[in-house]
């Protein structure tokens, strides 16, 4: 604070608060008008999957390990559970993905073989493999916090895309594109 001078000429530093405030408003305006992309991106994107080997979760389907995910073909890794309601709602979209040539593999979280069998009978089975993650260990390691969640994995076992929540009908096309991109 400078000493007071009697003359009342406008002093430039008195405008400083207004200028700073202007910049602040511009920043907020930018924040408001930016595209509404509110997906929290996983820090795991671009990183390889951890080494893991899960026992088969359902009768008649093999389990899932890191080697299966790095066999050269891109896949959609779907984290789900028979006790999860949105997972059932997601089933038709997974079937659609399967029909468009996307290989879908599953990780069943804290599930029982009987429950899982009933779930697959009722909702159809899009999975070529399902691994059982009884303690959510793999789930947390790949940066997923809930069910359902889906990851696009390229042929080398590297995470390329994360989708949080159930896949809606209008999102199938995006996922297909992401899987194709991961295959190139």
């Amino acid at each position: 604070m400078t000493a007071a001078t009697p003359q009342a000429t406008a002093r430039w530093h008195l405008w400083l608060p207004l200028v700073l405030f202007g910049a602040f408003v511009v920043l907020l305006l930018y924040g408001l008008l930016r595209p509404a992309d509110r997906d929290i991106k996983s820090a795991m994107i671009g990183k390889p999957l951890p080494q893991f080997a899960l026992r088969p979760a359902a009768e008649g389907l093999p389990g899932l390990s890191f080697a299966d995910m790095a066999d050269g073909k891109p896949k959609l890794l779907n984290i789900f559970a028979s006790w999860c309601v949105p997972c059932a709602a997601e089933a038709p979209q997974l079937a659609q993905l399967r029909a468009s040539g996307v290989e879908v593999v599953g990780v069943a979280i804290r599930d029982k073989p009987d429950d899982l069998k009933r779930f697959l009978t009722r909702n159809g089975n899009p999975y070529s493999r399902i691994g059982a993650d009884d303690a959510s260990a793999i789930q947390f390691e790949i940066g997923s916090s809930g069910v359902p969640e889906s990851f696009v994995i390229d042929g080398k076992g590297i995470i390329r895309y994360q989708h949080i929540g159930d896949i809606r009908a209008d999102q199938v096309a995006t996922i297909v594109t992401k899987v194709r991109e991961a295959g190139q």
């Binding site: 007071a4 009342a8 000429t9 608060p17 207004l18 907020l28 924040g31 408001l32 930016r34 029982k112």
Partner: protein, 647 residues
């Protein structure tokens, strides 16, 4: 019918606000203008009309009048009456109505009682208040009408977010709002004084009770909010540096700085332009807070009523109000002389240090809150949390707390450290001993410093009472001491919580026994419990402290059915030396239950300290208002005698 009445009252109030603005503006040119003379009554009636609108909204909520869209969206006939009542402001539209209600009633109150300042200053202040209110009226009437009707009427409402169905909700938002909006009065006073060139100690004394009042409510609101988050969210933490929490902290920091600088202005006629500036900044922070909460611009656990158009509206109001005030400041502040000078070692010097540090802390919180947005302009996504906020604010807050020990002992104008050095020996020794004692244990640096400083402050903040006649000591001094002592206690609680908390996450079978610190906890049973609009699984635990009498604890995992959502209800056992915090989690496949247990020594001091800070503010306010009243009565008597003698 009642909804229509409410809407009509709201429109009328808005029209009166326009009239009030016009009258106050005309008064700047010619105080004899008839409309100028009507400004005070208009302000009072406007306050009354909005109060009617608010009461109408509460009534339609209590009746669950589902023909009102807002009620249908946010209420449910099966909800307990308390939450129907509180539900009136548990949503965007209702809370904005509450906002203008408080704003207009405060303006009406100023118009009714404030007689100290020159009339033109008061009229300019009321005009500024009307200007701000008008923006919010427009927002309510055009973009968030709480009385919008619904046709056909639905059979049932959608219910209230279960997290909000808590007694805390009934009090927390209104408390914070009174604080936020109370600062609008400080803002209007600042603008009024700038416009009429009346920045003076009298102005400071007129503004001080309002700042004090708003600050008390903000303090209470933050304290309640912190405790609510602590027991309701079930994470065992009491402050998360969430954008919405920061939104309430920033006005509080600014108001605390303003409270101290206004004292300097009132007592010593110094820091004049700075005080006016803080008046503008404090209310800006209130509006920024509202903007952050409503626009959904930042991701927050509180995210409610996220709507970009509302965000644009509030941003426009923010830009117009604060932009106008800062323009007036730039044009007029050069005519506000800086006032009396003072030495560095003086009461004023300490208060300036307090202001600089509080402003620094405010800057840190503001930057941390907005940084994710700034980073996004550069294409990066970041989230800023405790690893930034804790040390960065500590840089400013810890030195400030050191000066808090010294400042109240210093005399105005000029003093020497030599005079007060002896007094500080005892707290200094205590602080060093505490630091030495705790340094032997594996405690992080910040909690360690906090513990040492808290030990010193607990004594140092009481020194101003030393050698004084406690019976004749003025209320504001009592208030200051109590508030500072509260800060010391809160600091002790925060430091103790982060230094000594022990935590356990166990999967337990019914009948198991868990040891946690001095506690031994038995897990007796889990039973379903029906509630009014939820069903819960309730665990019964018996916790015994150091082998003593067991205390029964009943943490719940609740499932609400309107709308369907699970919540956890923690159960707490409070002792004088801390709290045991228990949460019932999910049941695992093998039938065992997840139990999360924390033993938090002295954590309760955080909220006890917060309450003491607010109580100290209340004592100071009481003292100021009482002496103002005495002055008013004296002036009235003189005026009465004069009129009698005149005849």
């Amino acid at each position: 019918m009642i909804a229509t009445l409410g809407l009509a009252a709201l429109w009328l109030a808005a029209a009166l606000a326009a009239l009030q603005l016009l009258g106050g503006f005309l008064a700047l040119r010619s105080p004899e203008n008839p409309l100028a003379m009507a400004v005070r009554p208009i302000a009072v009636v406007q306050g009354g009309l909005v109060a009617v609108a608010m009461i109408c909204l509460v009534v339609v909520f209590c009746q669950t009048d589902l023909s009102v869209l807002l009620v249908a969206m946010n209420s449910h006939s099966a909800k307990p009456l308390l939450y129907k009542f509180a539900g009136a402001w548990g949503n965007h539209e209702g809370s904005m109505l509450l906002w203008v209600t408080i704003m207009a009633m405060a303006g009406g109150f100023v118009a009714l009682v404030e007689r100290r300042l020159p009339e033109p200053t008061i009229l300019a202040t009321l005009a500024a208040q009307a200007f701000v209110s008008l923006g919010f009226y427009a927002f309510l009437l055009f973009a968030s009408n709480p009385f919008t009707r619904l046709d056909p009427v639905p059979v049932e409402g959608q219910g209230l977010n279960p997290l909000l169905q808590d007694p805390g909700l009934a009090f927390h938002p209104p408390t914070l709002y009174i604080g936020y909006v109370g600062l609008s009065i400080a803002f209007s006073f600042a603008v009024g004084a700038l416009l009429t060139r009346a920045v003076s100690p009298t102005f400071a004394r007129a503004m001080r009770p309002w700042v004090l009042g708003a600050w008390i409510f903000l303090t209470l609101g933050i304290t309640f909010g912190s405790y609510w988050a602590y027991y309701e969210l079930g994470w065992g933490g009491w402050w998360f540096w969430d954008p919405v929490e920061n939104a309430s902290l920033m006005p509080w920091l600014a108001a605390t700085a303003l409270l101290h600088s206004v004292s300097v202005l009132a007592a010593r006629n110094a820091l004049r332009a700075w005080t006016v500036m803080l008046g503008v900044v404090a209310f800006s922070m209130s509006m920024v807070g509202t903007f952050l909460v409503r626009s959904g611009i930042l991701i927050s656990v509180h995210a409610f009523a996220v709507d970009p158009t509302r965000g644009q509206f509030i941003l426009a109001l923010l830009a117009i109000n604060i932009g106008a005030a800062l323009t007036i400041f730039a044009l007029r502040a050069a005519t506000v002389t800086e006032g009396e000078r003072f030495a560095l070692t003086s009461r004023e010097g300490a208060l300036v240090f307090n202001n600089v540090m509080l402003t620094g802390a405010l800057g840190i919180v503001l930057i941390g809150t907005l940084y994710p947005l700034v980073a996004e302009t550069m294409g990066a996504q970041v989230s800023v949390g405790p690893p930034y906020f804790n040390p960065a604010t500590a840089i400013f807050v810890l030195p400030m707390l050191v000066v808090l020990a010294i400042g109240p002992l210093l005399r105005w104008r000029r003093d020497s450290m030599g005079r007060i050095g002896k007094l500080l020996l005892a707290p200094l020794a205590l602080g060093v001993v505490a630091l030495g004692l705790f340094a032997l244990q594996p405690i992080h640096l910040l909690p360690l410093l906090g513990l040492g400083l808290a030990a010193a402050l607990v004594v140092a903040t009481l020194i101003p009472l030393w050698g004084r006649n406690l019976r004749t000591l003025k209320l504001p001094t009592w208030g200051m001491v109590m508030a500072h002592f509260g800060v010391a206690l809160a600091l002790a609680g925060m430091a103790s919580d982060s230094a000594f908390t022990s935590e356990k996450l166990v999967a337990a079978n019914v009948g198991d026994k868990v040891e946690l610190g001095p506690w031994s906890i038995t897990f007796d049973r889990v039973e379903p419990v029906p509630g009014p609009n939820w069903t819960a699984l309730e665990a019964t635990l018996h916790a015994s402290y150091a082998g003593g009498e067991p205390i029964e604890l009943k943490p719940q995992a609740r499932a609400f059915w309107s709308p369907p959502q699970p919540t956890t209800e923690s159960a707490l056992a409070t002792r004088w030396n801390g709290q045991l915090y228990t949460v019932l989690g999910e049941q695992a496949e093998d039938g065992r239950w997840q139990l999360r247990l924390w033993w938090k020594p002295f954590v309760t001091l955080i909220w006890l300290g917060g309450m003491l800070v607010a109580l100290g503010g209340f004592l100071a306010l009481l003292g100021r208002v009482a002496s103002d009243l005495r002055r008013l009565v004296a002036i009235d008597k003189i005026a009465y005698r004069r009129t009698r003698q005149g005849r």
